[in-house]
Point group: C2
Chain length 288, copies 2
């Protein structure tokens, strides 16, 4: 397909004249974890968790960060992310998707580093290496909306608290969403940061994406075991949407996405519940 002119050009091509940025891939790994209750009647409480690793080197030595690596020149971006989580933390089964590319010049104190952000969802219970799972608690501190006839400004302050057995990391970000006529700008500022770099922003971005995708995809099943009860499924929705759902309505809404199996959990102190599996064809049920 290449002309001789092109072949010649490429053989002589040198790209050393351009100053190049460094590029990392950074993956926000989520799971949903069940915490046993001490009340025999009550169901275990579920928590959304994120996997963080402690940095061993400068900069941000001893701070926690999401899992990432500098990219090499051989591998495709997705594959670099996959290799990274395999080698660094030993995770193998997950859903992967690219989120956004972060390019603030000052986001890394060393030099210009772009970060291609990823979100990973797993239901795996395997022990992972080189890091810890942190409970994710997102709290909307306050929201200020002002509007005129040209548009509006929404200023949100959000706390993202990350907690494990012995550590609690508190982060606060401010999201400024301004609309002036057609110009729409969304900016994000970190006002309290107990993570490395701007990783709390990447986590926030991942939380928003996850929440939005619940509505129109079946992405949530990546966070659940193969077999689950409808109450478990509902709890997962509630965790991510951060709102309470009504049982009857919820069952109707997700009924096409799941199929009952002939198994029941061994509940204690209350009626047993039927187990369900995800039906991957639900989007196609309308087609013939």
């Amino acid at each position: 397909m290449q002309t001789t002119e092109e072949k010649e050009f490429l053989s002589l091509y040198s790209d050393s004249k351009y100053e190049k940025p460094s590029v990392t891939v950074d993956g926000v790994i989520f799971r949903i974890f069940s915490k046993q209750s001490n009340n025999y009647r009550k169901l275990p409480q579920k928590k959304l968790q994120v996997f963080l690793t402690k940095r061993q080197y400068l900069p941000f030595k001893n701070k926690y960060s999401v899992v990432g690596t500098f990219i090499d020149l051989k591998h495709e971006l997705n594959n670099t992310m996959k290799l990274c989580v395999k080698n660094k933390v030993g995770l193998n089964n997950y859903h992967l998707e690219q989120l956004f590319t972060f390019g603030e010049p000052a986001r890394d104190p060393r030099t210009r580093v772009l970060s291609v952000g990823y979100m990973l969802l797993t239901n795996s219970e395997e022990k992972l290496d080189n890091g810890k799972w942190f409970d994710v608690d997102l709290i909307e501190l306050n929201t200020k909306t002002t509007s005129n006839q040209n548009g509006y400004t929404i200023l949100k302050r959000v706390a993202i608290n990350l907690t494990c057995e012995d550590e609690k990391l508190e982060n606060i970000i401010e999201i400024n969403n301004t609309k002036n006529g057609l110009e729409e700008t969304k900016s994000l500022e970190i006002t309290k940061n107990e993570l490395a770099f701007d990783h709390i922003s990447i986590i926030y971005y991942a939380l928003e994406r996850l929440k939005n995708k619940l509505e129109y995809t079946d992405i949530i099943f990546n966070l659940l075991p193969k077999e689950f009860t409808l109450t478990e499924l509902k709890q997962c929705y509630e965790l991510i949407l951060r709102e309470h759902l009504l049982d009857a309505n919820f069952r109707r809404k997700i009924s096409k996405m799941v199929s009952p199996i002939n198994k029941f959990d061994d509940a204690k102190g209350h009626r047993t519940s039927q187990l369900f599996i995800h039906n991957p064809n639900w989007l196609n049920v309308n087609l013939d």
Copy 2:
């Protein structure tokens, strides 16, 4: 905020040991253009157009590409994109958003080049430099769906024809969407390419994003003049969604997004129509 240890580290830090990729920003610029009809009764026909520039140098010399540039180390990514369109083509008013980062190792024959893809929407009528507007015609050639109890495979072949007065560029891509249990893969292959690099993929990605965003944002008004008729607005929706809409339903649906003004167009051969403007506060009408 930095410790002395960190300061020392940074002063000694050298990043030369890593092989770095090149990075470009590439912007798909869309507008909607009205083509006058020769029938005095008929409204002008609207076309979605994309702005392409002809490459002057190898590789892909004399091929058309979207507007882009290698990034420098100083500017934020969005700003690099903005500077690029300002300097290269002279465009100043538009909506900008990041789409996706393309990282196929073979996408550039010179060396490893990542591309951060952007979509730009404009309603500007100004003459732009160094390129031409091409009509965008996306035609779904065929779709093959196979499914089993584990999931499905959707194979779509899509032609994207780009046409201006004296040139017609035909491109064909194949989108393979496979779902196997929870694993979902979406891959895109170019089977006929009359553009530079993988830019037809970036354009396809932009078309999809634009279509999806119509549903839940007011992004479309970036493609329209300040004052417009509801029929014009409907035509723009139909162009991007590639489907016919019913008039009465459409008017009800978008009624909250627009406000009538006390002006009427000077229609010929048919009833005059009222002009409307975009109401940027429609998302907030529910709040108090």
